[in-house]
Amino acid sequence: MAAVDALLLAMFLASVHKHAVDLELIIAFVALISNYVYFSKRTMPFKFLLPGLILLTLFVVVPVVYTVQMSFYHYQSGNIISKDGAITQLLNNGLTPDAANTSYDMVLGDDAGQFSALLTNPATHISYFATEKAVTTLQPGQFTADSKGDAVGYPGFKPYTPDQEANLDSVISNARFPMPNGNFIQPQDTSSASLLTQSIQYDAKTGVLKNTATGKSYKDNGNGNFANVNNPKDVLYPGWKAFSKFQNYAKLLSDPNIRGPFIGVFVWTFLFAATTVILMFGFGLLLAIALEQNLRFKRFYRSIVILPYAIPSFMSILIWKGMFNTQFGAVNALFHTHIDFFDSPWLARLMVLVVNLWLGLPYFYLISTGALQAIPSDLEEAAEMDGATATQILRRIKLPLLLQILSPLLISSFAFNFNNFNLIYLLTGGGPTDVLHGQTAGATDILITYTYKTAFNGAQQNYGSASAISMLIFIIVASLSLWSLRRSRVLDMVS
């Protein structure tokens, strides 16, 4: 405990050092709770639970809560930062060169400890001495000029060496030398500058952004953007992450781009998850029964059929993808055909099921074997005494018992496949998609891959609506799991 405290203290101090208030709070909280739990005498269960709980909370619960929160926000590309950040950026974007595109030759230097510059307008040959407080026009004779007539020397002014300039990089790029009428001169690099006008101004009191060049006014449209007072469709970017209540959810029902394919995808997701579990369970159970027989080489067979479980699944999926290739794939080579499995909706679906069967067979074989062995043998013997045949024993006695024993695993497998992002994404990418007929969802797209597509489609990333779909998926799968758990009475044993 002392070691843990020391570590937490060190981490706390490091956060203080870096002014990371959020991390300080988390660390302090963890430290307080663990000290309480491990020094109090009444917290025995939590002495065992705490490390697990902390890890779960930080890396599972917090992200989930964050996702839930995101689903209530207008949160997408262009609406990622805070409102203050957005205003700062808009103001910066509102800097425009003046109408004449005036630029200056510049020498940067130090004047009595002040960052300053000698500027010369190459068109008018007027020179200026500029600090960040004021810009004064120089009369000929007040400064020394080079052959072009540019000001290069001024009493008290010490030009920077290139090394000094390199160190002052951020000072230089943020420098503003004020000119009349709210204009200012900003360095473009270390030897030139241009005249800029602030064409967008923000009034914090009224919350109005005004473009002085076009005369348009913009107001917060309540949706994370500043919009033209006269034309709500004219909005400024970037916007910010704004609270949007149930808008993301409402959009799922109202936006035809999302709602249209949603039902089809939903049906396929269910079909896929159910079929794949039934297939894997059927083949796995049969295999388990077959390997229960008194066979030669049993151990050898067993070792081979569980091999896919030991091979990283993402590798297997990619390999299967290569094997289903139309021209070079091993599957087509085996049957001497040239079938394009990725182009036909039903073949692609079949392919997904076959590959998933390969991936899931070992697991289902293993759990079926375990469950078969867990069924008391006297049941079977009793049935045999009563004259039941092997098939009868299997159908009437073993199968119902197996289903009861395995239902939690079958349900969790269903839930897993309901969200089997890897398989679909790596194998078919959701395709084939009939783009010509304006389809956005592919034939093998399940909800989670479809979410991924709608949410992270190209440049436009919509975290808000992706979170909303995730929440929907979560509610569906969670209620299904809870319902079946209750039904299988697993939780009754807990109490």
């Binding site: 490091a14 697990g52 964050y66 077959a290 030991a310 290569g322 890897n422």
Partner: protein, 297 residues
């Protein structure tokens, strides 16, 4: 336990069965074995094929070379040995820590009475079915923040990834372990307590040795899970020397064009070897561990 008692009984009883059933069983098993071995054969063949194609048309290998294997261990841009090492370190750390922390939590859920126990177990299960890939965004933002203060456990570090894995699998592990612990007779604890053992003593001296099989399975599953994990690791680990095997190998075939299957196949084979050995040597435990956890859970 039940495994041992059932087996001899069933095998003696099944001996007189007709060979017809056996034949059918054999046929079925062989079909599945061919199905299982098909891609594995393709990978082995491709790994020795220097052209980088995932199988040519014929099934008899036309070319044979060690070029792909050689590339993995000689090309300085492909620190394959390093990737394997990263994966093994990460997987070992994850499985050991997960067993200790998960075991302790499962022990509490199984043996102790406290408020919120049932709710806690249900919540554990529910949290697991949350579509996790979206939570990725949140995790990313979080670890980016952590990185600014603690680079060792922040974004891009194996330490940070380890923490995420530990947290992510905790729910499953607790359920799996708890199911097994429930089958360990209460009488043992009670006897120890009468002899004056404290709760931590019961945990370390009675429970830990007794639960060894399921602890081994949990460790194995955690190990394999870590070895296989791809999406999180690929987002998280950008430095080429910190990659895990899965992320590293994907760089050969991840690109839409210029897929190079040869080194990928060779690397996959090498990466699978430790897992296959582990798996085959622990298969007895796995069958028991998986179902015990579920059935009694």
């Amino acid at each position: 336990m039940s495994v041992k008692t059932v087996k001899p009984a069933s095998s003696t009883r099944k001996k007189p069965r007709t060979t017809k059933g056996n034949l059918l069983a054999h046929a079925y098993i062989w079909v599945l074995i061919l199905f299982v071995l098909f891609p594995i054969y393709v990978v082995i063949e491709s790994s020795f094929n220097p052209t980088g194609v995932l199988t040519s048309g014929s099934f008899i290998p036309s070319q044979f070379s060690w070029a792909n294997y050689h590339l993995l261990f000689s090309d300085p841009h492909v620190p394959f040995a390093r990737w394997i090492l990263n994966s093994i370190v990460l997987a070992t750390a994850n499985s050991v820590i997960a067993v200790f922390i998960g075991g302790a939590s499962a022990f509490a859920f199984s043996r102790m009475k406290f408020r919120g126990r049932k709710i806690g177990l249900q919540a554990l299960l529910l949290v697991q079915v949350f579509p996790s890939f979206l939570a990725l965004a949140a995790i990313y933002v979080m670890m980016e923040r952590v990185y600014t203060v603690f680079p060792a456990i922040g974004l891009g570090s194996l330490g940070g990834l380890l923490l995420i894995y530990l947290g992510g699998a905790m729910g499953v592990n607790i359920w799996l372990l708890r199911g097994y612990i429930d089958t360990i007779p209460m009488e043992l604890d009670e006897a120890a307590r009468i002899d004056g053992a404290s709760t931590p003593q019961v945990y370390w001296l009675i429970f830990f040795p007794l639960a060894a099989p399921v602890l081994a399975v949990t460790a194995l599953l955690a190990f394999i899970g870590t070895f296989n994990e791809f999406i999180l690791a690929s987002i998280f680990l950008t430095d080429v020397h910190r990659r895990t095997v899965a992320v590293g190998l994907n760089s050969f075939v991840g690109a839409e064009f210029g897929q190079n299957w040869g080194p990928f196949a060779a690397g996959s084979l090498i990466a699978s070897i430790p897992l296959v050995i582990l798996f085959l040597s622990l298969q007895r435990f796995i069958i028991g561990g998986l179902t015990q956890g579920a059935t009694k859970g």
